[in-house]
Subunit: 109 residues, 2 copies
C-alpha cells in the first residue's frame, strides 16, 4: 500500500540519520511537532513545509492521472536503497566501523 505523507517524511529523516531533535532544530519547529506529525497528527502546511525543507524533501502536487508514472520513477530509485531491516538506534545515528550487527536478539540482561 502507499505510505502516508508522515510515514514517508519519517523514513526520510531516518535515512538522513537525523534525530527528531536535530530535525526540529534545523526546521525551526519543536521536537514535539516532529513527533506528533510523524504519528499522524494534523499540522499546518507551514509546519510541514519547514520540516520537509529541513529534510530536503519537496512536496510536488501531481494530477492523479500522472501520479502512477511518477511513482514508478520513484520506485526505481528507491529500489537502489535497500532498507528492509529497522536499524537500532546506534546504527541510525552512529557509524560503527567496528562491526555490524544484523538481526535482533533481545538478549537483555
Amino acid at each position: 500500500m502507499k505510505p502516508t505523507l508522515h510515514e514517508t517524511i519519517r523514513a526520510r529523516r531516518l535515512a538522513l540519520g537525523l534525530s527528531q531533535v536535530e530535525a526540529a532544530r534545523r526546521s525551526g519547529i519543536q521536537q514535539r511537532q516532529v513527533s506528533v506529525f510523524e504519528r499522524g497528527a494534523d499540522v499546518t502546511l507551514s509546519t510541514l513545509l519547514k520540516l520537509a525543507q529541513a529534510l530536503d524533501v519537496e512536496l510536488i502536487p501531481v494530477p492523479r492521472e500522472d501520479a502512477a508514472k511518477l511513482e514508478s520513477v520513484l520506485k526505481a530509485k528507491r529500489g537502489l536503497a535497500p532498507s528492509s531491516s529497522p536499524p537500532s538506534l546506534l546504527e541510525r545515528y552512529q557509524v560503527p566501523d567496528d562491526e555490524m550487527r544484523d538481526g535482533e536478539e533481545p538478549t537483555n540482561g
Copy 2:
C-alpha cells in the same frame, strides 16, 4: 520560477473547470478556505489534503535530489496542454455545446 503549492492547486481547479464553491462542496471545506488558501494563507494539512483529493491531486514527497528528474517528466506532460490565455468566466464554467456564441440572436430564455 517554480510555482507555489497554492498556485498549482488553483491552476488545477481552474483546469478542471471548477468554481471555489464547487471545489469546497466536493472537498467538504468552506469556500472561504479555498479562497484564502489559494491566496497563500496557511491551512492545516488535513484541509489541504481534502482539497487536493477533490481536485484529484496527489501530494508526492520527493527527495530534493530526485525532484529535478520528476519535474522534467511533469514538464513534458504540461507541455501537451498549453493554456496560456486566461479564459473568461463562461469559458471556464460553461460547456458551450451549442454555437450560440457566434450568432448574436437576442433569444429569450
